[in-house]
Amino acid sequence: MPTYTFVVNGKPVTVDAPADLALLWVLRDKLGVRGPKFGCGIGVCRACTSHLNGAEIQPCVTPVAECAGQSVTTIEGLASGDDLHPVQEAWLEQDVAQCGYCQPGQIMAAAALLRTKKEISDEDIDRIANVCRCGTYFRIRQAIKSAAAKM
């Protein structure tokens, strides 16, 4: 079985895995990184959304081989120690989460968006397609706007 070395949340890791094994299962089942959640396995619910070199990815459809030598950030790696990322702070401020299951992915999607754009429009927010089955969308919208204003 091939071996892959990459960085997860700032720490180098090496795993034995089939080349086509989805990053989500490497993270969750081999490395014990459980922040990214399974919701669909085909990249449409986006509950697992994380970052590869700072850009948004869906680990459930990202083969581990594509991550070799790259840097993966999951929800666990977004904050700097106890200092939360502004998007996480905004999520607390708006009390966004209900069941919370989709929220790591929502937060990572919002953080990736705010990395690339300073001025956020409602249309930008509309393009975030992550499913929230509790229907917290309005609070997500408010939280993203609040985070954008502070960043």
Partner: protein, 737 residues
Amino acid sequence: MTCDNEVPVPAAGAPVRRRQFLTFLVAAPVLTVAVPGTAEAVIPTLPQPAEILDLGEILILAGTPTAGALAVLSVGEDGIVTLDLPRAEVGQGITTACAMLVAEELDLPLGQVRVTLADARPELLMNQLTGGSNTMRSVYGPIRQAAAAARARLLAAAAAQHGVEVSRLSTRDGAVILPDGRPILYGLLTSAAAQLTGVFAAQPKPASEHRLVGTPQSRIDARAMVTGQFRYTLDRDVPGAMPTVVRRPPTINGSVRSVDSAVARTMPGVLAIGVVPTGVAVVAETFGQAMAARDALKVTWNAGTIDALSDKEIRAKLKAATLPFVVPPLLTQHLDMEFDFAFVSHAPMETNSAIADVRDDRAEIWAGLKSPIVAQQTIAAAIGLPESAVTVHVTQGGGSFGRRLFFDAAIEAAQISKALRRPVKLMWSRTDDMRHGRARAASHHKLRATFALGNVLTFEHRVASVETDFRHGLGEILTATAASLPVAGNLSFAQTVFLTTCKVPYNFGVVTSLLNEVPLRMHTGSWRSVYSANTRGAEEVLVDQLAAKMGKDPVAFRREYLKTARQRAVLNKVVAEGDWGRAMPKGFAQGVAFHDEYKSCTACLVEIDARDPRNPRVVKAVIAVDVGRPINPRGLEAQMLGGLTDAISTTLRAGLHIDKGLPLEGSYSHFHYARQKDTPKDVRIFVMPATGEPGGAGELGVPAAVGAIANAYARATGVVPRSFPIIFPVDFEPFPR
């Protein structure tokens, strides 16, 4: 120690360490369930069953004998107070609201309260079911009484230690305050308080003295959620429990005829494969490998239970099962309407999942479970162990919407663990969840209103629904409370649930609502608001049409016919805040609707952009809600927001197509639950001031929003919707079976 209002904690699970913990298990005074009259109601419509005793009150009644044992509070030496709550948190915010009750009664900072979810506690009998929007209604008294008794003991301990009268002591910020102002932290008193003997009668604070309850608070688990630290079932590590998936049949309830697992067994990471009643289980080192091996299995299947049925046949059955009207449309003007509602998946983000470790003489289960006692009984029977040998842990769930009333994954995980003789961590795929999970039953509705001389004379609603499965303990509860039920005769459980949850809130003369069910052997279950989303949603559409036929504005009409001032107040609130009647561009419109259930009421006013009738969007929503006594207004607003999004989804686009015995939808790319782009950029929710005891809140938000959205769509497009979801093509390539 035992005293009048207290009994010791039963020695279940870990032994209680008396030296370190003061544990109260307070037998509160027996809850008295009032059977209120309808003093507020003007007479033209006789009280309906749900106005006399609603489902939530039935659940309280069934739980009354064990209400005193409900709240188990312990005060740690670190000053942390832990409530072991025999209910399921699935996102609805009950752990935060319950923590607020404890903090309020003990004069404790909210941050010093922890809430854990209790294992199945069979001694609670029927008092461990999370449903019917019943949690805050059923625990409001018992938790406050338990906390008040805890406070009384801490005061007594401080009084004894310092030789002062209890009456000269007070409590503040997690401490007993001595007459000279010195605080003694609860953690320093808990040990002494546990040694006290005697009776400590204590009454909870009157609501007028509440400083925390009724104020907006954020979820107590929010930080864990936004940092990825929160642990759901699949995030737990149980020694030896490896990733497990199931290959499922091509039609609902199909079973395995033959399996060729030769290829699958050689695949990397595969640990075990075995046949179980629901399919073929595959255990592997990772879920990815388990799913790859699952797909490599060659399986032939026996037929399922509804293989011949598709939506068309089911709709025909429902239509045929709809009971006739009583009132002939003679001599009066009348309005008849019919509606259809599709099946809807619960589709919580966390799919069905469970961990099971079944041994020869015992079993341990972890899952998000809203009826863990029934789960324990059923699992014990399924794996041939006594109930006492099956420990069922309740984990916090990633959404439910009614789904986790059933324990399908827990029982399946136990069967797999037994068959393969190893612990398993079972995850249903999204396709499993949508196609073989449960769904809100499809329904057909026939309504007739008659009117003359400006008065509504009669209102009849005939509902035909595919049978909703209530085999999660509700049947036993209704049997146990049968003598108190406000319905006469030998009604089915379903009819009883229907009549104790749905009521017409208007004075429409002679009102009759009847449910007839079509039993189909498929997987159904209560979906947030059970019958009310469809039943009341349809009624609110009819109300708009009736108003038009009688030449009245929809708001003015509702004001005239609503039964109480309290109901009119929420309607008036959305009318004022939402600027009802304001001019809108072509293709846009407002819609309004009202709903009353479980001693709460709400009105919803939406604005829709339906310039393209095939691509509408709700652009604004104004909601007013009166739940009698809001515990956490911020959490209540979240529930109403969720109800709104559910209504947007199920009214406009989200449903399941049944095709030859199986839903076609297999993921969120097929089942069109709303995304951000489908939801309003402007939502305003108004919580009405407290006036009484807490009413239900978890399901309340759906039905009024369904009606408001449908009415807005009708006004914007000129087409009154009759079939829901309104936009419902098969706009995807279904996954292979």
